[in-house]
């Protein structure tokens, strides 16, 4: 028979430690069970000298144990000292194997065979015990490790850190901190943005990258590991790199099996779902409480507050409000109806579909970054063309999306529970339509960063957002009188695939009748004629492909491959057939599309026989443009070097239309067959420059132009992120004398960008003009259109969208 306690706290991390200290302070009989021989193993395992942060800063700490940002050693020291001082009953080397019994009489069996009895159990075991494993080939090799104790012990190594969360970034920074160690450190992030890491860490990483100490690979994941190398799947294709050590920090999943074994239910079947908890942290198993990272919140301050609070609850102080209560109270103050914070959170969580899978704890944290808003019937929520990248969700009421800007009587309604504004989230476009409240409505406005965080931490929310986005895209794409209900079968069976540049989604001659909708990126269609791949057409995001095999019951007639890293929605052919059978209007529409595509195919094939070299040329030019990133462009400047006399009037016109600075470099850039792609913005479908703009100053305008607004802080991130080198960091030059003064009196530097020397000499020395990022804005706001094109004397310069340039009509005109 073991000892009996009022509370047994399992795990001595910040949460458990804080709970045990509170229990000791209240005089509750307690035991703190720790698996290892020291307190707080997760933080103990942090690398030496790691700076531990104390975020969120607006949250007050409520604990009997102190905590402030500082070095790992310092914090552990304080905790050891205060744990002893608080008379906490710690039992080391006590790894729990099993918890049995019910509230009031739990039996905790340790791996040593001992048992501990307790009336209530607090699980504060965190999630670090179960790191997510490398699942690619070779991921089980001995040089793949999941933690890093002392970055100082490795020298002269090529080290890859997989995962750019806080742990990964800190490991990478530690390994690269001392140049004397001569480590080549690479950090690999699956996404283009660093969504899960703290801001300060991301900034430090970017600084280290710019200093050349760390190689940062974004949009990349490992695909194979061998003894001395690693193969990455990058946006530009596969890449093999030397690598002697891999540190995988790809997050961790709750030790679900053990927790479920205790009788605790989880919110969903998701691998990374969290236990179902009451606002008092009590799980579905009465008497078992869950706090800390396992409860869904990994920040130390939260954990410590929860530790304090859970003991208060257990000891009967159920009226205690969490430490973030006042912040949330203020957020809900403007809403109608008197509800407590908990009631509001529950109201939002149950009413908004994408929030359904959240735990109350996650809801609290989520609402700290979001805003609840109340709109009266008819009140405008946002106007068409407003800038804005936030996502809205409707908790009650409904909103109306104006279909026709001129006619307010035409609108589509969005019901309670759904979301709107998701487009801004994806591509940073301006609002596509005005939205007003249909009745008195309560919305949650989720900032872009909170929405990205939500999607990365709650997979169910990601799927819900994705499903709505897919549904709207399909409705828009196919039209034909489809309504949402028609798509249910497709929406249950669609798949989203990521396709790397150059990889095919459809291969000529293969079987298959699935339909693909291009969601991001673009595709090229090729056909093998006479042993050569002939370019047939270019498909931008928002088009579909695959209908020929479906309707014609035949093999695939052409190969469709990604021009750049793309995302496609795969719709199963059988489900699509069912839909076509129900909707003759859609069938007719698809047949028309198919007929026009077949015409193009047969046209190209016919030309190939008689004008082989012309068709080859057309294919080669298309491939050249695709290689040069035209696949992600929406609008690109192309110069015909048969016509360009090199007068640079385009650059001068650009400078004179934009504060005296040219946003294009005519001469630089690639050329193929006299077709020149100058260094000038292509207004990418998913702009790289937007990925990491601290003041969120880069937007997409109503005509598709990507532009930088006045809030630019000149950090240069966009310039570094742009793969095409089209962004300059420059200070605005002083104003020039007018054209006539120059022509008649020789005053000033003349048309075009003034020389650095002139600008310096004539600058107002009293005003310091900061360098800001400048790039092509497609001459938005200039009624005549792009200055570079208007100012070309010979017609060498045109601006086109790739699908307009890469049409088969080029072939037609050159062979007729």
């Amino acid at each position: 028979m073991g000892e009996a306690f009022r509370v047994a706290i399992i795990g001595s991390g910040p949460a458990g430690l804080s709970a045990a200290s509170r229990a000791a302070a209240l005089g509750l009989s307690h035991v703190l069970l720790e698996k290892t021989g020291h307190l707080s193993d997760t933080i103990y395992k942090y690398q030496k000298g790691k700076h531990v942060m104390a975020t969120p800063s607006q949250l007050v700490l409520r604990s009997d144990v102190d905590f402030a940002a500082g070095k790992r050693e310092h914090i552990l020291g304080i905790w050891d000292q205060q744990t002893a001082k608080n008379n906490v009953n710690v039992r080391y080397h006590a790894e729990v194997k099993e918890i049995t019994g019910d509230e009031g009489a739990f039996t905790i069996t340790l791996t040593s065979g001992d048992t501990v009895h307790a009336e209530t159990v607090i699980l504060a075991i965190g999630t670090q015990g179960n790191p997510n494993l490398m699942r690619c080939e070779g991921g089980d090799l001995p040089h793949v490790q999941y933690s890093l104790d002392d970055p100082g012990e490795y020298i002269d190594e090529h080290i890859a850190v997989i995962g750019a969360g806080d742990a990964g970034i800190e490991n990478a920074l530690g390994l690269a901190a001392d140049p004397e160690q001569r480590n080549v450190v690479t950090i690999v992030n699956r996404n283009a943005e660093f969504t899960t890491a703290k801001d300060a860490n991301v900034k430090a990483l970017i600084a280290a990258r710019d200093a050349g100490r760390i190689i940062v690979r974004t949009g990349t994941s490992p695909s194979k590991v061998t003894a001395d190398s690693i193969i990455y799947d990058t946006p530009d294709g596969a890449m093999t790199v030397q690598c002697n050590r891999i540190i995988a920090r790809m997050g961790s999943a709750p030790p679900r099996k053990f927790v479920e074994g205790c009788g605790v239910d989880f919110t969903s079947e998701d691998r990374v779902a969290f236990p179902v908890l009451s606002p008092l942290f009590e799980s579905t198993k009465a008497g078992i409480y869950v706090i800390g990272a396992l409860a869904g919140y990994p920040l130390i301050k939260h954990c410590m507050n929860q530790g304090h609070d859970v003991i208060e609850f257990i000891s009967g102080n159920t009226a205690l409000k969490p430490a973030d209560e006042p912040i949330l109270e203020a957020k809900f103050a403007g809403l109608p109806g008197r509800k407590s914070v908990d009631q509001w959170l529950e109201f939002l969580r149950t009413n908004i579909t994408i929030l359904n899978a959240m735990t109350p704890l996650q809801m609290r944290e989520f609402m700290l970054d979001s805003d609840a808003r109340f709109y009266r019937a008819g009140e405008t929520i946002f106007e068409r063309n407003d800038p804005g990248s936030s996502l809205f969700s409707i908790a009650s009421g409904s909103v109306q999306v104006l279909i026709n800007a001129q006619d307010p009587s035409k609108f589509a309604a969005i019901e309670s529970g759904s979301i709107f504004g998701e487009v801004g989230l994806v591509s940073g476009r301006r609002r596509g339509a005005s939205v007003r409240a249909g009745e008195d409505t309560i919305c949650v406005e989720i900032s872009r960063s909170a929405a990205l965080k939500l999607q990365s931490s709650v997979p169910a929310a990601k799927r819900a957002i994705e499903r709505i986005a897919v549904q709207r895209q399909l409705l828009q794409l196919f039209g034909s009188g489809l309504v949402a209900g028609d798509l249910d079968e497709l929406l249950d069976r669609y798949e989203i695939l990521t396709v790397n540049a150059g990889a095919p989604i459809i291969t000529e001659g293969d079987e298959g009748n699935d339909i693909y909708v291009i969601r991001q990126g673009s595709m090229i269609v090729e056909k093998k004629i006479g042993g050569k791949h002939v370019f047939l057409s270019y498909l931008p995001a928002g088009s579909y492909v695959g209908e020929m095999a479906l309707l014609g019951n035949q093999h695939r007639t052409a190969t469709v491959k990604a021009a750049i890293k793309s995302e496609v929605i795969k719709l199963p052919g059988s489900a699509f057939e069912t839909l076509l059978a129900k909707k003759p209007q859609l069938l007719a529409r698809i047949k028309t599309d198919m007929a026009s595509r077949q015409d193009i195919n047969s046209f190209v094939e016919a030309r190939k026989d008689s004008f082989s070299s012309v068709v080859d040329m057309y294919s080669n030019v298309a491939n050249f443009l695709v290689e040069n990133g035209i696949g992600e462009a929406t609008d690109v400047l192309l110069i015909d070097e048969n016509l360009c006399v090199g007068c640079d009037n385009c650059e001068k016109a650009c400078a004179d239309s934009h504060e005296g600075l040219s946003r294009l470099d005519r001469e630089a850039g690639r050329t193929y067959a006299h077709l020149h792609v100058p260094t000038s913005c292509r207004h990418c479908e998913h702009p790289h420059c937007m990925a990491d703009c601290p003041p969120n100053a880069i937007h997409r305008g109503p005509d598709g132009e990507v532009f930088i607004d006045d809030t630019c802080i000149g950090c240069g991130n966009c310039q570094r992120n742009c793969p095409y080198g089209v962004i300059r960091m420059e200070a605005e030059p002083p104003k020039k004398p007018g054209l006539l003064s120059w022509m008649l009196l020789g005053m000033g530097p003349g048309p075009g960008e003034p020389s650095k020397k002139w600008s310096y000499k004539h600058a107002d020395k009293k005003i310091e003009k900061p360098k800001k990022a400048i790039k092509c804005d497609m001459c938005s706001g200039i009624s005549g259109g792009p200055a570079c094109v208007r100012a070309c004397p010979t017609g060498a310069a045109i601006r086109v969208s790739p699908e307009h340039f890469l049409t088969v009509s080029r072939l037609e005109s050159s062979t007729d």
Partner: protein, 301 residues
């Protein structure tokens, strides 16, 4: 229904976004602009002049002083003044909708039609006076313009091929880099050969005046001379190891190649511009002579 939102609430697809710049996605040169619109206008104008010249009976014979002559003269001078405005149009980046290509197209064809208008205006009467001076200057301007059209039609593709995706800045940068390497590589050489390299480094490789620039002939090029001397020494011996003479020889060879490309580039650039140095000053001379011509005809009245 949430999902009933139609196109308006969605992002416009790419083809719609760029509708502002309606373009058929093809390059169209200034000569072919709008299916030769200005060629047609110029031809019609000229034909009209020629036909009317023969239909209208001016006594004793056609001359600039008849009502018909005055009409042609007025049309001619208006066209000349408008053509001159191209220089202003090109440099004024106003926001309204206009196309410099359309202006160039009109400039070329209307300019050519001046040959007819001017000649008919003069009634084929030429002599040694200010009137004929204006006529001759106009013809010189037009001839230089034709020269310009011909270089614009032929040289751009040559320049593009010669450039081969490098920019002028890059060409000059690689020259500087080669020069630095030459400077270092020449250190172990004998005084004579070191001096030979120095002459190549000291010389401005693009000096030699306008003739050299336009003809791409640089007979006094020290790099060529130095390379020839190094070739004479090293050409016969096989290249082995770290012979500094061999190293300098190959660097000089590379410099020669880059020089050739850069000089060719500068030649083409100059050829594309030099005609303007005739065309534009002649235009001003023409306007001056034209003013004298117009003022003087008032004295005949």
């Amino acid at each position: 229904m949430a999902a009933q939102i139609k196109a308006k609430a969605q992002p416009k697809i790419k083809s719609q976004q760029t509708s502002r710049m309606a373009s058929d996605g093809r390059h169209e040169g200034y000569l072919r602009y709008a299916r030769f619109r200005w060629l047609k206008i110029a031809v019609i104008l000229s034909l009209l002049m020629i036909v009317s010249y023969f239909l209208i009976d001016v006594r004793p014979r056609h001359n600039g002083g008849s009502w018909y002559g005055y009409t042609l003269g007025t049309i001619g001078v208006l066209i000349i003044l408008w053509l001159t405005m191209l220089g202003i149009r090109k440099r004024t980046m106003s926001n309204r909708h206009w196309s410099l290509k359309a202006w160039t197209s009109a400039h070329v064809y209307l300019g050519l039609s001046l040959i007819i208008i001017g000649t008919l205006h003069a009634g084929f009467q030429l002599g040694w006076n200010v009137h004929t001076l204006a006529y001759v200057l106009m013809m010189l301007v037009i001839l230089s313009g034709i020269w310009g059209i011909s270089v614009y039609a032929t040289l751009p593709r040559v320049m593009s091929a010669n450039r081969d995706q490098t920019t002028e800045t890059q060409m000059l940068a690689s020259l500087r880099s080669i020069d630095r390497q030459l400077h270092d590589a020449a250190q172990p050489l004998d005084q004579y050969y070191a001096e030979l390299v120095q002459t190549s480094l000291r010389q401005n490789p693009f000096g030699g005046g306008i003739f050299s620039r336009l003809s791409n002939q640089y007979p006094r090029c020290k790099t060529h001379k130095a390379h020839a001397e190094f070739m004479a020494i090293t050409g016969s011996s096989p290249q082995v190891g770290e012979d500094p003479m061999e190293k300098v020889n190959s660097l000089l060879g590379r410099k020669k190649a880059i020089l050739a490309r850069t000089r060719k580039h500068l030649q083409l650039k100059s050829l594309l511009e030099i005609w303007l140095y005739v065309h534009v000053p002649m235009t001003f001379a023409l306007i001056a002579a034209l003013s004298a011509h117009i003022v003087s005809v008032f004295f005949y009245w």
